[in-house]
Amino acid sequence: MSTFAFLGTLEIGFIYGLVAIGVYLTFRILDFPDLTVDGSFTLGAAVTATLIVAGFNPYLATLAGTIAAACAGLVTAWLNLRFNILHLLASILTMTALYTINLRVMGKPNVALIMEPTMLTPFEDLGIPAMYMKVIFVALCALIGALLVAWFLYTQYGLAMRAVGSNKRMAQANGIVVTEKVYVGLALSNGLVGLAGALFAQTNGFADSTMGIGTIVVGLAAVIIGESLFATRSMLIIVLSCIVGSILYRIAVSIALNADFLGFQASDLNLITAVLVALALVFPKLRSDWKAKRATGGEK
């Protein structure tokens, strides 16, 4: 893998690290499988790109994109809590509706940003080559996001949210307002995903109506890779492991892209990625099995 390809892998890994943290909040903390992210990733990108093209400050546009995506999360939570629609179905409904909304927001299937100012523009004069600059910038965004989320989960409020996810009735019995935690959790999760979409659009020069496809799969894979590598109860490490998982997922894609010398074709990419991710998941288990065997002296 060349340096440039490696930096590109890191860059996209960090951006999707924010997606992974968002997915972690819903799937693991709230125990709310949320597929809205496939739509809110694009929504964040679409709103940000449209506002930038309309002449707004890129930072303001990114904030607006993040808030729009957070609102998408609120809609899913509302459908689920207010109308008792199954969480999975509620999120699928929002995701489906978002496809149309994204097209409406952009007014066309693709908005280009290549020659527009972005969040990175103020740093372009620092003399750091663009390939490094982009990575440093998205890495900082992802790490700041991770630290804030970890801090949030350590607060009283965050603790209450975690309690809702692990035992809803118990939490309610202890005086925690469950619905409010679900609303806040979904907004936060989708906001992070929307921010990732906004960053992706700005570092790649476009927002596209198809860009959200498969976001949930990538996010979930990253969460699970991270979990399998770091068996810990520390919230900070768990949140950071989402980013590590995301980067490892991208490295798997990158290796798959470079696997042509083994006789693979371009169309084999998804299968190779899946196999590599499966290996990453199986490996820690094999290692612990092997350790356990050795501890018992290999007798059985």
Partner: protein
């Protein structure tokens, strides 16, 4: 002894010579957003032109990556390719082209089948784009379509265009068509049909005012294309279409794209860059339609004759 040493030195010099020749193979990297028969045909067309121009064998490296429909992977592929430092990157379809154009300012990028390269901000201008990016746009070639109508109706003065003003695609085609028609001294009469049930009325309004009717690739019009054809037969006005598929449904003739050929047209640009031209000085090429469909029976019904030249050029004659 002597002979072997001569032989050895000959071998050695041959080896040195071939090393010098073998400097670095020419490397063309292609990437597309998704596997699709049309996009695959473009890639194969590019490769064929390169092979014909002497780029083949060990001195030539040709790779292909598909983003499997995911822009995130397109972005990753673009970064990988920049790291691989190919001589030319061929990016097929808009998201792949945008991803490639946004990560490199030095490696030549040739895009293909991007409908609106200006709107997609891939190039700042169509002529002499500057920078490292140029390519082929598959926007509807209105000039060629107008030329076809003129070939059938030499005395063309006014052209009727029914379309749906709510379809972005149709609006941009009509806009381009009007600009081109004005240059040729032809006036365009528009007729709006917002729903497919309005198409009949919209076409009838053109009767008595126009010499020919041209239907752009507009989903509303195409879905009720038979209504236009009926008006054309009744009023003896030839009806032309923007897509070859409509010829079997009653259009007199249409030119359309063959994607393999679009790949060949893209390949020509790649060859020019490999031979030393700067991408920034190569104009963005407008795709030339090479498929010509004609329907002589329908032409007769609408009161025109298929010119022998068109009949000869036709890739398909509808009976």
């Amino acid at each position: 002894m002597k002979l072997t040493s001569i032989f050895k030195s000959a071998m050695l010099s041959a080896a040195i010579f071939s090393c010098a020749l073998q400097a670095k193979p020419v490397y063309v990297a292609t990437t597309a957003i998704v596997e699709h028969p049309a996009l695959d045909a473009v890639r194969d067309g590019v490769k064929e032109v390169l092979n014909e121009n002497g780029y083949h064998g060990e001195q030539f490296k040709f790779t292909y990556e598909s983003a499997q429909g995911q822009p995130a992977i397109a972005a990753q592929i673009a970064r990988k390719l920049v790291g691989d430092q190919p001589d030319v990157i061929v990016a097929i379809a808009t998201p792949s082209a945008q991803a490639a154009a946004s990560v490199t300012k030095t490696i030549p990028v040739v895009f293909s089948v991007v409908t609106d390269p200006l709107g997609a901000k891939i190039v700042p201008s169509l002529s002499q784009p500057g920078g490292n990016v140029t390519g082929l746009s598959d926007m509807v070639n209105v000039k060629q379509h107008l030329a076809l109508v003129k070939e059938f109706v030499p005395g063309l003065k006014t052209l009727g265009v029914p379309y749906n003003p709510g379809e972005t695609n149709a609006v941009s085609i009509v806009k381009a068509l009007k600009a081109e028609a004005q240059l040729q001294g032809i006036s365009v009469i528009e007729s709006a049909a917002p729903k497919s049930s309005d198409v009949m009325i919209a076409s009838k309004q053109l009767v008595g005012k126009v010499d020919a009717i041209y239907c752009p690739t507009d989903n509303t019009i195409i879905s009720a294309f038979e209504s236009v054809v009926k008006v054309g037969i009744d009023a003896q006005i030839p009806v032309f279409a923007g897509d070859t598929g409509s010829v079997a449904r009653g259009a007199v003739a249409a030119v359309g794209y063959d994607y393999f050929d679009l790949g060949r047209q893209t390949g020509d640009i790649v060859v020019r860059i490999l031979k030393g031209e700067k991408p920034g000085s190569i104009d963005v090429k407008m795709a030339q339609g090479t498929d010509l469909f004609v329907n002589p029976a329908m032409a007769a019904k609408m009161g025109v004759q298929v010119p022998p030249a068109a009949l000869e050029r036709a890739t398909q004659i509808i009976k």
